[in-house]
């Protein structure tokens, strides 16, 4: 209990004084995760729409794979990415291991199935609404995907935010591929793991609170940008 209280006061204090290390780590967390989120959304949203619109042969298999991959422990993803990016691995020459780029790659792999799966669920409903109209209008596959993504953007925002939540709070994979190097690949979650390891629960909790604040702030910011609250839900 005393840890909790001192954690909260420590978080408050660090935020109030804009602790330089904290700011650096937080910005890095944001940068890595937002980059991963943009890349993952570019891949996953059209994929989700395509799965809703198109009846291709491998569709069932793709959906089953996405659902299975959603449950994949991040640390396994981290390990696979690690093996690929290691100097002795197939992509070793790129020298990406223990860089923020490696962390972005791992996070993209972790959240693409999640975003695609939620997007598919949401767009499947929209597609059953639009099916007759869009077929009657003689649209191409591409135009259907376009219409679904545009008109389903609010639901897709939710999918993207779920991806953001999973990526920003992820520790197993980015610890393995990023290495938690101070001033280089240390982010909020790996810093929390580090402080927990040192038995400094108050600081770890403080960082945890910062993580929560930040996640809430990003959610609100995206909602404001998307104006979802003002225009109501449809």
């Amino acid at each position: 209990m005393s840890d909790l209280l001192s954690g909260m006061s420590q978080a408050f204090w660090m935020l109030l004084t804009l602790d330089a290390d904290l700011v650096e780590i937080t910005l890095r967390s944001l940068r890595v995760t937002l980059t991963a989120l943009v890349i993952a959304s570019v891949v996953a949203l059209p994929l989700g729409a395509l799965l809703a619109v198109r009846r291709f042969r491998a569709r069932r298999l793709t959906i089953a794979m996405l659902n299975a991959l959603m449950g994949l422990p991040p640390v396994v993803v981290g390990l696979v990415v690690y093996v690929f990016l290691s100097r002795s691995g197939p992509l070793g020459v790129m020298g990406l291991l223990f860089t923020p780029t490696a962390m972005v790659i791992a996070q993209v792999i972790i959240i693409v199935p999640l975003i695609a799966s939620i997007a598919h669920q949401a767009l499947r409903e929209l597609w059953s609404d639009y099916h007759d109209l869009l077929i009657s209008l003689n649209t191409t596959q591409f135009q259907r995907v376009q219409a679904l993504i545009w008109d389903g953007r609010r639901a897709l925002l939710t999918a993207a935010l779920a991806g953001f939540g999973r990526a920003i709070g992820e520790v197993g994979a980015i610890m393995v591929v990023g290495g938690n190097i101070d001033h280089h690949t240390r982010v909020l979650t790996t810093a929390i793991a580090l402080e927990t390891g040192k038995g400094d629960f108050a600081l770890a909790l403080g960082l945890g609170f910062v993580l929560i604040f930040m996640a809430i702030a990003v959610n609100l910011a995206i909602h404001v940008i998307g104006r979802t609250e003002r225009e109501g839900r449809w």
């Binding site: 929209l126 609404d129 639009y130 007759d132 109209l133 077929i135 009657s136 209008l137 003689n138 649209t139 135009q143 219409a147 008109d151 389903g152 225009e231 109501g232 449809w234």
Partner: protein, 238 residues
């Protein structure tokens, strides 16, 4: 202006669900003029027939041959569904969409869409989200959206079901205007009054087959078959 879609010839056209034939086999030739009203008891296959003709339900057997290239034929048709599909966009967005599909430049599409919205009395509601419109407004919007590309042929599936008298009259006015302007209409309806008001020819469907087809005046005054007679009298027809 006579469309190059017609005559359209259906030969042995059949629609199936599983083993069961929903429609047909139908042999029919439709000419370029008039308003065809498809009537028949519930479950006779009116909706399926329209969808088959429009090409959004896949033929199980037989053929439907338009007088022009099939792709061109599709582009010259539009369909208004019984439950209008409102895209989750503004009124304006819904009207612009088919024009943009036809690759019309945005400013021009916008101008046309505003005009179309004003024509159906939604000039003040351009930015309202379409899914929030009332039933009558939605049906009018769906109709305007279907007509905005100036199709040669417009299908309507029970366009006035569940609408009040005023909305029904507005819709019928739009339809009459479109028909006068040369749009070929093929519509189904439950409302015999509406059928009498609009039809130049009637197509009486029973159990997925065309039971009677001919000029509306003949059909309403001297139906040839006992079933049509009974249907017009308001009896239950099986």
């Amino acid at each position: 202006m006579v469309s190059n879609l017609f005559p359209v010839v259906l030969s042995g056209a059949t629609l199936r669900r599983g083993q069961k034939a929903l429609i047909g086999p139908v042999d029919l030739t439709l000419q370029a003029d008039g308003v065809t009203v498809v009537i028949g008891p519930n479950g006779a296959g009116k909706t399926s027939f329209l969808r088959m003709l429009h090409g959004i339900a896949r033929l199980g057997a037989g053929s439907i041959t338009w007088s022009c290239d099939p792709l061109e034929a599709r582009q010259k048709q539009a369909f208004v569904f019984q439950h209008p599909v409102m895209m989750r966009r503004s009124v304006l967005g819904n009207l612009i969409y088919p024009l943009r599909l036809a690759k019309m430049a945005r400013p021009k599409a916008r101008a046309l869409a505003i005009k179309a919205a004003q024509d159906i009395g939604l000039g003040d509601a351009l930015d309202r989200p379409a899914p929030f419109l009332s039933g009558g407004e939605r049906q009018k919007l769906a109709l305007a959206r279907a007509l905005i590309t100036k199709p040669d042929l417009l299908f309507l599936d029970e366009p006035c079901a569940s609408l009040d008298g005023r909305a029904t009259r507005e819709i019928e006015e739009i339809l009459t205007r479109a028909a006068t302007a040369g749009t070929r209409l093929i519509m189904s309806t439950h409302d015999m009054g509406q059928a009498r008001r609009l039809a130049t020819e009637t197509l009486f469907l029973l159990n997925g087959n065309i039971h009677e087809y001919g000029p509306a005046s003949t059909f309403f005054e001297r139906p040839k078959t006992a079933q049509a007679c009974a249907f017009l009298k308001g009896d239950i027809v099986e």
